[in-house]
């Protein structure tokens, strides 16, 4: 991690708030346009509440924009619009699936709930931006957040509030609300890993013995973080939450690699992954089933065959039927896929808007990850670099795991599609992640402050002269 300050100096990022506003207008057109298109396609008319709905979205997003202008003027201009567009599109698709379910006789109103969650998410996004004026403050909470993450992961195991839904015990219920604490734990673990690795990366990279091409660090350097990681991973495996275990495993590995600059970790991690996956295949029945479904989806499709692969196979039918430009809103049957509005929302998009839209959505995720890694590159402090890398990696891995699962590239493991899927905890946690990324990018892109204006201000032609002489 070479400090880039020598290239940053003499180079200043613009604020780009105007560009952000322009992109936000486009993003709102994407979101509200999708809602209108759903109304026209399914019910034959523009929905009567489009003004109220659109106004609500505009209010939320423009509110977020104004707050960014005030408290993070140098923040990245692309992140918020991309997230707003994804969230708007997700809302419209969830609404579309609601309408289909309504026609089939069971109304749910998931879109309504998702809008409430989005409001809460944007609220927390603003609170994060306002409360955390400097991301380096978070470094003080390295162990606190690590502990908090483990506690959050353990919460669903408590008998009173924990719930098992679809075989995974990852939910807590508090009154009318249900929440997946693992989503928030993801964010806290990134902060914990980053805080720890910043302090210990030199020791991790340099001290230790060399075993088979890999420099193994000393136990006392690696111990605490290894424990933190193994505990969270163990909890997830115990809760049958395959997707999250995969996410946390990859997240830790990549952060370790970025912090120590040792490619050997990737080799070790890869071997550990193969070993762990084989072990899980042998030990756990549900892992074996997932693997078999992935290999031979059509052998488990019909009810006589158990119907275990009904969901992924229907999703593939849907995407195949959608083709290049999709059936159009209202002409597909996305509700044939169970959980079409959460894990399988991408197959609904593929069915009604086609490959063209799926590629656009994947591009948007790519942009989020690119902006996160870019922030990590230009960030001036190591902690910010690692947090930005970790958050970007978390989103990248999550999208890979869920999209790979839906499209059949890798075995299916349940995870939400960030910002698109129905799911309050995921949406709220992801909005907070974006707020943190914006805060780090604001710090990274802000020009260096000067503490002594009056003595150092000099005219620009003087600057030129000295610059030739003094700077490298």
């Amino acid at each position: 991690m070479a400090a880039p300050s020598s290239t940053i100096m003499g180079f200043v990022h613009r604020r780009r708030r105007g560009a952000e506003l322009f992109l936000l207008v486009l993003a709102l057109i994407v979101g509200i346009g999708a809602y209108a298109a759903v109304g026209v396609g399914v019910q034959g008319e523009v929905p009567p509440d489009i003004l109220g709905y659109g106004g609500w979205l505009v209010g939320l997003i423009i509110g977020a924009h104004v707050v960014i202008r005030l408290v993070a003027p140098y923040a990245d201009p692309v992140l918020l619009p991309v997230v707003a567009a994804l969230n708007g599109l997700g809302l419209a698709v969830i609404h579309r699936i609601d309408l289909a379910k309504e026609a089939a006789g069971d109304a749910d109103g998931f879109a309504q709930q998702q809008l409430i969650w989005m409001t809460l998410g944007v609220g927390l996004f603003l609170v994060t931006l306002l409360a955390i004026r400097d991301h380096r403050l978070l470094q003080r909470f390295t162990y606190t957040s690590g502990l908090a993450a483990i506690v959050l992961l353990l919460l669903p195991m408590l008998p009173g509030i924990g719930r098992t839904i679809n075989g995974a015990r990852i939910w807590i219920h508090l009154g009318p609300f249900s929440f997946q604490p693992g989503e928030l734990a993801k964010l806290l673990l990134v902060i914990a890993f980053a805080g720890y690795l910043v302090l210990h990366r030199d020791a991790l990279a340099l001290a230790g013995r060399r075993v088979l091409f890999v420099d193994l660090p000393r136990g006392r350097d690696l111990g605490p973080i290894l424990a933190m990681w193994l505990v969270s991973l163990g909890i997830l495996v115990f809760q049958h939450d395959l997707g999250s275990s995969l996410l946390f495993f990859g997240l830790f590995l990549i952060m370790l690699y970025v912090a120590t600059e040792r490619p050997g970790w990737l080799v070790v991690g890869g071997l550990m992954f193969v070993g762990g996956a084989t072990l899980a295949y042998v030990l756990f029945g549900h892992v074996r089933i997932r693997f078999d479904i992935w290999q031979h989806p059509f052998d488990f499709y019909t009810a006589e065959q158990g119907g275990k692969s009904f969901q992924p196979v229907e999703a593939k039918f849907g995407m195949g039927w959608g083709g290049l430009i999709g059936r159009g809103f209202g002409d597909g049957d996305p509700n044939r896929v169970p959980y079409a509005n959460s894990d399988f929302i991408l197959s609904s998009i593929g069915e009604e808007l086609g490959l063209t839209a799926v590629m656009a959505v994947l591009m948007m995720y790519g942009l989020i990850v690119e902006r996160a890694l870019r922030t990590a590159l230009i960030c001036r402090d190591a902690f910010g670099k690692l947090v930005a890398t970790g958050l970007g990696t978390a989103i990248a891995l999550q999208v890979f795991v869920v999209v790979g699962g839906v499209t059949g590239l890798i075995p299916l493991t349940g995870l939400t599609t960030p910002f698109l899927s129905y799911g309050g905890s995921s949406l709220v946690a992801n909005w907070v992640i974006i707020a943190l990324l914006l805060r780090i990018s604001d710090q990274a892109r802000r020009p260096l402050p000067s503490i002594s204006d009056d003595t150092t201000a000099i005219s620009s032609d003087d600057t030129q002269v000295v610059r030739l002489g003094a700077s490298s």
Binding site: V12, G41, S450, D453
Partner: protein, 158 residues
């Protein structure tokens, strides 16, 4: 609603989606190179910086040439600024090697930007202080500003 209208709506929507993605990419593209602004205006920040205060003509201060240790166990040690960024720490690669237990291996760095000199903490354990303030960001220093690392005090000198 006719089949054709629905088809047009669908294609229009896909077009909007891609127009959004491509505009986002073009914003990133134009952002990649940032903006080069005059060094003096840069520290003022903002798109329309206040015109920098003009120094009195003929009273140009001469630039510092070296960093000098003025207090601590290595008093008198110095490093030339012309050679580029000056690394301060206990490590062997530091331009100013300090035998000070309170200094980290790679503790701080003094680097130039135009006519200004900055001191930047490199994630040291005990921090770098300009005056009495622990710095969290690269901070401008002028000749005679006391920079404290561990038990050592450094200054820019002519």
């Amino acid at each position: 609603m006719s089949e054709l209208t629905l088809f047009l709506i669908r294609v229009a929507y896909l077009a909007i989606l891609w127009i959004f993605v491509l505009s986002a990419i073009s914003v990133i593209r134009s952002d990649m190179f940032g903006a080069r602004v005059p060094e003096a205006a840069r520290t003022g920040g903002g798109k329309a910086p206040k015109p920098p205060k003009q120094p009195k003509p003929g009273k140009r201060r001469s630039a510092p040439t070296h960093v000098l240790v003025t207090e601590g166990s290595n008093v008198g040690e110095r490093a030339e600024l012309a050679a580029g960024p000056v690394l301060i720490g206990r490590g062997s690669d530091a331009a100013i090697r300090l035998d000070d237990d309170y200094v980290s291996t790679r503790h701080a760095r003094i680097a130039a930007s135009g006519d200004q000199w900055f001191v930047e903490d490199l994630g040291s354990t005990n921090g770098t202080f300009v005056g009495t303030v622990r710095i969290t960001q690269p901070t401008t220093i002028t000749m005679g500003t006391q920079v404290r690392v561990g038990k050592t005090i450094l200054e820019l000198r002519k």
